[in-house]
């Protein structure tokens, strides 16, 4: 299901931010209009899509955020909002009132939490996040983006217990943004990241907290024991994928995912259905993979890749390589916004 951006501005500045390049290229006044939202609701309906994933910038900054969520719910959609949880008191109170009767499977939040020590935030930001957690409790899945080797997720366990959050942590790797310098994890460091994550497993086991892995993890960097734990705790619902997620901007522009936000940009109006959009970007992803199997040398001849068990890590690494190291290669593939 595609992500829909309500805003292009954010009230925070995370060092790893995937959206950074996209946001810095956009006017802060770019927010989704009602006309575009209604168009998308119709477009999703005719495409048979029943859920909206809402993103920003920080989507709750949209002045009509609560009304727009109420609208989509009334249209019968299920909704998940990706947020940093920093919301004005009035708006949060209102949201708490309006949505209290809606079942959590129809309206949920994924909150992107930063570790207070390594990514400090102001006291008022922390208080605001806590108010958010206290308002939406079991509707919230905590999310954590890993952008440094010495990360620590134990503060999230505390939040889960204190506020009764969903007991799954969505873990993402910070990926490079093609054409921009953000903080991200180098392919050579991913094994260290995985091992460090698994050092938290005994506590997670004790607290019955489960993992949810985001895109771009390479299968071969997990040990069999680690894979076994993952299997047991996700019921096999994980994949080592990198496939277009599709982001839709407030102005109806489209791109495959944030790290590739300038990559083959199109408009929703160019397509008749969500299926057509996915087909278009999946085809481009396939072409990149023909040129470069994945983030490691061994990806080219990897049996897991051939069997489609692993996609070879995040394509943004490959694309970055093409941009920086082989600027004449694959012209038709790394076509950027300026030339179509």
């Amino acid at each position: 299901m595609p992500n829909v951006l309500f805003t292009q501005t954010c009230n925070r500045s995370c060092p790893y931010c995937f959206a950074k390049k996209h946001l810095s290229d956009s006017a802060p006044s770019d927010i989704i209009s009602w006309e575009n939202l209604i168009y998308l609701a119709d477009f999703f309906t005719t495409s048979g899509e029943k859920r909206f994933q809402i993103l920003g910038g920080e989507p709750t900054l949209h002045p009509d955020f609560n009304d727009m969520i109420a609208y989509l719910l009334e249209r019968g959609f299920g909704i998940n909002v990706f947020t940093n949880g920093i919301m004005s008191d009035d708006k949060l109170r209102e949201a708490g009132n309006i949505f209290s009767g809606i079942p959590p499977d129809r309206l949920s939040f994924t909150i992107n939490l930063n570790e207070p020590k390594s990514t400090p935030q102001s006291l008022s930001e922390t208080e605001s996040i806590k108010r958010f957690l206290g308002t939406f409790c079991e509707r919230i899945t905590p999310g954590f983006n890993i952008y440094r080797l010495d990360f620590d997720i134990s503060f999230i366990f505390q939040y889960i217990n204190e506020y009764g959050l969903n007991r799954t942590i969505r873990v993402g790797l910070a990926h490079p943004i093609a054409g921009k310098k953000n903080k991200f994890i180098q392919p050579g460091d991913i094994k260290k990241i995985i091992d460090r994550f698994y050092s938290f497993v005994p506590v997670m086991e004790r607290l019955r907290i489960k993992p949810g892995l985001d895109c771009g993890f390479p299968l071969c960097r997990f040990s069999d024991e680690q894979l076994g734990w993952l299997y047991r705790n996700t019921g096999g619902h994980y994949d080592f994928g990198c496939a277009p997620v599709i982001d839709i901007g407030p102005d109806m522009s489209l791109w495959p995912c944030f790290p590739l936000s300038d990559f083959h940009k199109k408009s929703v109006f160019d397509f008749n259905s969500i299926r057509e959009i996915f087909d278009y970007y999946e085809d481009i992803h396939r072409k990149i993979r023909v040129e470069s199997g994945g983030i490691y040398e061994e990806c080219d001849n990897c049996k897991y890749r051939e069997e489609d068990l692993c996609k070879g890590g995040c394509q943004a690494h490959s694309l970055n390589r093409f941009l920086n190291e082989y600027p004449v290669r694959m012209k038709e593939i790394y076509q950027f916004a300026s030339n179509g």
Partner: protein
Amino acid sequence: MAEHFLVCDYNPKILKRIRDRSVVFFLDSLSKLYDLESDARDHHIHIHCVIYETKKSLSDIIYKPEWSKFPIAIVSPSLGRLSSFLKMASVIKKLNIRFYFRTDYENCYRDIRILSSLGYYCAVIINGKTVNWEELTDLMTYALLNVVNHREILPFSYVTRYYHPQNRTDYGAVYFDDASRYIHLTGEGMLALSRKQMNSVNGILLELDKLDRITQEKAYKEYLYRWQEFFLEPTPCACCKGWRICLGKYADTIKDNPGCRDFFSEFLEAVDLHLKKRENTTKEEFIWQP
């Protein structure tokens, strides 16, 4: 000839003189609905519709389940907070209600689209001075050509309902402004052919007692055929493609706010497309129709 509907303010003094008639009442407060109901019953008056014009947003009105007995038109400047409005959705959805918005308010196009897409009946009151023709074109296209289900928006769907490719289609009835169907009545019992005429010195035509003779009046006939005047002079309307639907309603404002010709020409095309699309589907009408 079908009997005319009368259109008047709710005024208990005049009720006994309009016994057995079908009437559109203007109310200044919806709390008067209950008095109106018992008065109408006492005088055998059929309530065709109740019009309530308010400065309040729709979300600031408290809707009552008891109103479901009445065909209601609410004219409001805006929808207001959608989330507050939707809190009352279970009541509102059961009402026989249509929301009218004036183009005097710039968000009317947006509010109508929101409500229509959520299943509420709406109408836009087009003021030639204030209308944004481009936004109206988008709304009309949405109303007639959007493939996803939404509630009808007047006057667009009214035109498609009564459209004939070789004839005029006057959508004035959407605003109770069509003298072939609606006659306006003052508090003093005088008749006029439109609300505008009712308020002008020379607009009064007859006394209420002579209502049944109104079609024989020269002024009445002239009024119904006043469209012919457009062709006596080389006016923009005389060579306008969209005239068959518009009938020159915006002739006075075309200079200051041009765009009507393009709008009505697109409207005609959309009507054709809509009718082709609709050929094999019949649309149910759930609420009162003008």
